[in-house]
Symmetry: C2
Subunit: 302 residues, 2 copies
């Protein structure tokens, strides 16, 4: 396992749903990152298309691809050619009428080394994800869905967007040996919210992900899309994606600070050796009250 | 249940172990707070004494008191006289050889309405708490130790210091209906750590507690001690308590910003009505994967 390396989070605006064009743009950013020495590339959620969940429309299921579809083949080939690890995100067609929001990880010539299907599915105005995405399986063989993915950089604890609000998800990945947490996401502002509310939302989103690093003593890498995407129902409405991709170390300290608007492959030097020294002096795992946590599996304690 | 009120977090330096003197100083701050309209007072961890856990010394067990000891009687009387809710923290003698780090809550003329015994006990150089404190019981009748305390301001999810690093604890309190989370704490810097490390530690501590507010959609109130307390083994060594008591609302937004050095009763206007509107638009409780969380009760998934 390689503990010192350069990672990149790719933050993009997506002008349209032409996949070829979007994948080509992403490939250029990946190439940039590799020229800066990056070997682990994290792409944002659903990077091959605009965020199509602003409306419930059965035609959008045409955007889904099987695990070995053209987008995956493209990224798998790129990972092999450049001898890097790519964390890609896509809309998976598992069967007719059964679709997931799925990350695939490719590691150089080894090809696909694992997948993660989004476990927590949001649904709020403008983010109609429950219409599109079946939640990831709770499969005992896959640590009930929270199975980190083994790569040359150790075990990647990949989670997706809405999963980021759940400390349970981060903890389960850490307990299964994740060496870092990775969140491809697609989140933004409703332009009709006032500036204070927008500020609170972005701060909350950053804070809770930094806290997963703190609670588990491992780095967190986040890639989020940027740019405005109009609603299909009204050009004046839509989502103002807040970018702010960032990376923190095992104490939640910034290795890469969040920026709202820029596009690019943002590179950061990782050193996973520091994680164990942090866990030695902040030994939260030692003191967990596993005798007292049973009720976490309840919806409500009443 | 009263949803709009003023709360105060009391941040103190403790010059010595004279309990009478310390309680009198605390009483003055409580009086100050009440004059500013406060009805809920949160005191810092082990406020009646210096932080005695810097050394393992059996004589320190003399500092412990039964639940109805002099410190509790003092605070209970104060809560009744002033008709307020006081969250006090103390060193509890439950039996010879059985001691806890315990919060008691007094609500006006109702007297003591509940207690919470610290569930997660730290132990690191200068914080030898495992020597002094038996962890709180994992009692099924008390939600395995994480039972919020009913008061005129709803259910207080009281946790203590090291508990603050555990999202599990915050979540269990929220699931049991806590209307806010409250952390009396005693944490500070080792003066031999460099400034960057000190900054990372305080930031991590603030971040993870703000994240509990975000994850659960309820406010968090934190009272921490300030000032330097020398080690009994060497006047040059000791703990530089970092104060920084703070209050955040249900999105983790500051209602009271943290300050390292000042002493005082810091007051803030609370409005618990906002919690439900935040939970309506950020419905994390709706989407928890309770079918997939069983392994949270494991130490490690191997």
């Amino acid at each position: 396992m390689k503990k010192k390396f350069i990672a990149a989070v790719v933050q993009q605006a997506i002008p349209g749903d032409d996949k070829q064009q979007n994948l080509a743009a992403t490939a250029r950013y990946i190439q940039d990152a590799v020229e800066q020495g990056a070997e682990l590339i994290v792409l944002q959620e659903l990077h091959a298309t605009q965020y199509f969940c602003q409306r419930e429309d059965t035609d959008n299921f045409d955007l889904a691809e099987p695990l070995d579809g053209e987008s995956a083949q493209f990224m798998e080939a790129l990972a092999e050619t450049l001898d890097i690890v790519i964390v890609m995100s896509g809309f998976e067609k598992r069967a007719a009428g059964l679709y997931h929001n799925t990350v695939q990880v490719f590691d150089g010539h080894e090809g696909r080394v694992g997948i993660f299907r989004k476990m927590h599915i949001p649904d709020d105005p403008g983010f109609y994800e429950k219409f599109y995405f079946t939640p990831g399986d709770s499969d005992e063989n896959l640590n009930h869905g929270f199975q980190p993915i083994e790569t040359r950089f150790g075990k990647l604890g990949v989670l997706i967007c809405w999963d980021q609000w759940y400390p349970e998800a981060a903890r389960l990945m850490a307990l299964a040996g994740a060496d870092c947490l990775i969140y491809p996401t697609a989140i933004g502002w409703d332009p009709s919210d006032d500036e204070d509310e927008q500020q609170r939302q972005r701060d909350a989103w950053i804070t809770i992900q930094r806290a997963h690093a703190v609670a588990n003593g491992i780095p967190v890498l986040v890639a989020n899309r940027t740019g405005f995407e109009a609603s299909p129902d009204s050009a004046e409405e839509g989502i103002d994606f807040w970018g702010s991709s960032f990376v923190v170390g095992p104490q939640g300290e910034y290795l890469l600070e969040p920026v709202v608007e820029s596009e690019g492959a943002f590179c950061v030097a990782m050193d996973l050796n520091r994680c164990e020294s942090v866990r030695r002096i902040w030994p939260y795992l030692r003191d967990r009250r596993v005798d007292a946590y049973q009720q976490l599996s309840k919806r409500w304690i009443d």
